[in-house]
Amino acid sequence: MNILLTLTLLSMGASLYTAFFYAPTEIVMGHVQRIFYFHMGSVWVATVAFTMVFISSIAYLKTQKRNWDILAYTSAELGVLFITLTIISGSIWAKPIWGVWWTWDPQLTATFILWVLYIVYLLLRSSAGSEVRKAKFAAVFAIIAFIDLPFVYISARVMRGVSPIVFGGGGGGIDPKMLVALFASLTAFSLLFVVILKYRYDLEKMSDEVAKLKLSGAS
């Protein structure tokens, strides 16, 4: 655990250094483009987190093991956190580049619905009553929500016509130094995700343990 923590701190430092000093300034966008490294990092982690929610939910319904439920729950929490960061960093980038904070482009629409869906997921968990029922309902909702996402994206595309914006550091050539910065950021964000997930998972385990002890103490 300590090694992982050290590695995470080191990679976060490296990511900050490469994003702000090592990578060259983008010609058209200027310094604003640097927010992109963190934007990509958080959207990457959010994608991994939501995919994990989906897989653990299926695994939970199959095995009915509490561990899968904890994994789904903690991943969903982190997914919501990182997708919020994605939306905020994206808006800060969009204001100087596009001239607006927000636009109903298919990608943004899908991201927004994604954000709403997993907040509803957390709300459902807090209102479902018993532990088993909570886990089952949440798993079913997570599966439906995940399958729904492609539909949201496609229908938004059909509504608006094809999105004109090319995301990324440019379609043609990207400076290798920028790639290094991007890679450093992805590594740092991934490690950070693993660390928080680990702590959060252990915390849930402990709270289960406490609940069990309380129950045995009462009888």
């Binding site: 319904l61 619905i113 709403v116 869906l117 509803v120 709300l123 459902l124 209102s127 479902a128 009553g129 088993v132 029922r133 089952k136 309902f137 798993a139 079913v140 909702f141 599966i143 439906i144 929500a145 399958i147 729904d148 539909f151 949201v152 496609i154 229908s155 938004a156 059909v158 509504m159």
Partner: protein, 222 residues
């Protein structure tokens, strides 16, 4: 198949005796149309784009009302337990409840349509077949996930409050595609003008009826 029709028939008989769900859905849809008529300043001619949106707001809100009642009804007197004790596969119970809900919502839609023509002065009858197809596809998509979530919400602490929160974000593709398709039909373009939305709608219906039927058993068993 007999088992499914038995469940549908049970719901229809209950409804025929009280008529409360049907009446409330219908009146609610009507009130929404009137509110929009007020909001648009009583002008008789509005664009097909606005009118199809108004139509689907009225339908989905009325449908939500019916869905909320669908499983709350089974909770009364623990009728759900009786339903589960019958020697029927869980997915068939889902199908029965779903088809019943589709029927109720569809009938409300059929009755609201002429009134819609009356209020907004839009001729829907010349495009009747494609319009009915659009309504049917949209209704199936809306109710497929709606029936599943109705069973879920009836078992939570927040009950009916939770259902719209669960359902509306999920059915955004259905409502958006239905509005687009209705708009194409009403403006005289026909279904082919919005074939993209038609495909989305058909795919949504197939995938979500299947998925909901599979996962339904996890919702109802304790």
């Amino acid at each position: 198949m007999n088992k499914v029709t038995a469940i549908i028939w049970k719901d229809i008989i209950t409804e025929l005796r009280t008529k409360e769900m049907f009446t409330s859905m219908f009146i609610f849809a009507l009130v929404i149309l009137v509110i929009f008529n007020f909001a648009f300043g009583f002008s008789a001619d509005i664009t097909p784009q606005a009118s199809s949106a108004i139509l689907w707001v009225a339908f989905s809100f009325a449908g939500m009302l019916g869905l909320g009642r669908s499983f709350a009804l089974e909770m009364e007197g623990n009728a759900m337990l009786g339903l589960l004790l019958t020697p029927v596969d869980r997915s068939l119970i889902y199908l029965g409840k779903m088809i019943g809900n589709v029927l109720f919502m569809f009938i409300v839609e059929i009755i609201v349509l002429p009134l819609f023509v009356l209020f907004f002065n839009i001729n829907v009858f010349e495009h009747a077949p494609s319009l009915l197809l659009t309504l049917a596809l949209g209704t199936v998509g809306f109710v497929s996930v709606g029936t599943l979530f109705s069973a879920m919400a009836a078992n939570t602490r927040l009950r009916e409050v939770l259902l719209p929160l669960l359902l509306f974000p999920i059915v955004i593709p259905v409502i958006a595609s239905s509005v687009k398709l209705t708009e194409a039909v009403l403006s005289g373009g026909g279904l082919t003008e919005a074939s993209g939305s038609l495909k989305v709608l058909v795919a949504f219906d197939i995938i979500f009826v299947t998925t909901s039927a599979i996962v339904f058993e996890y919702i109802v068993e304790d």
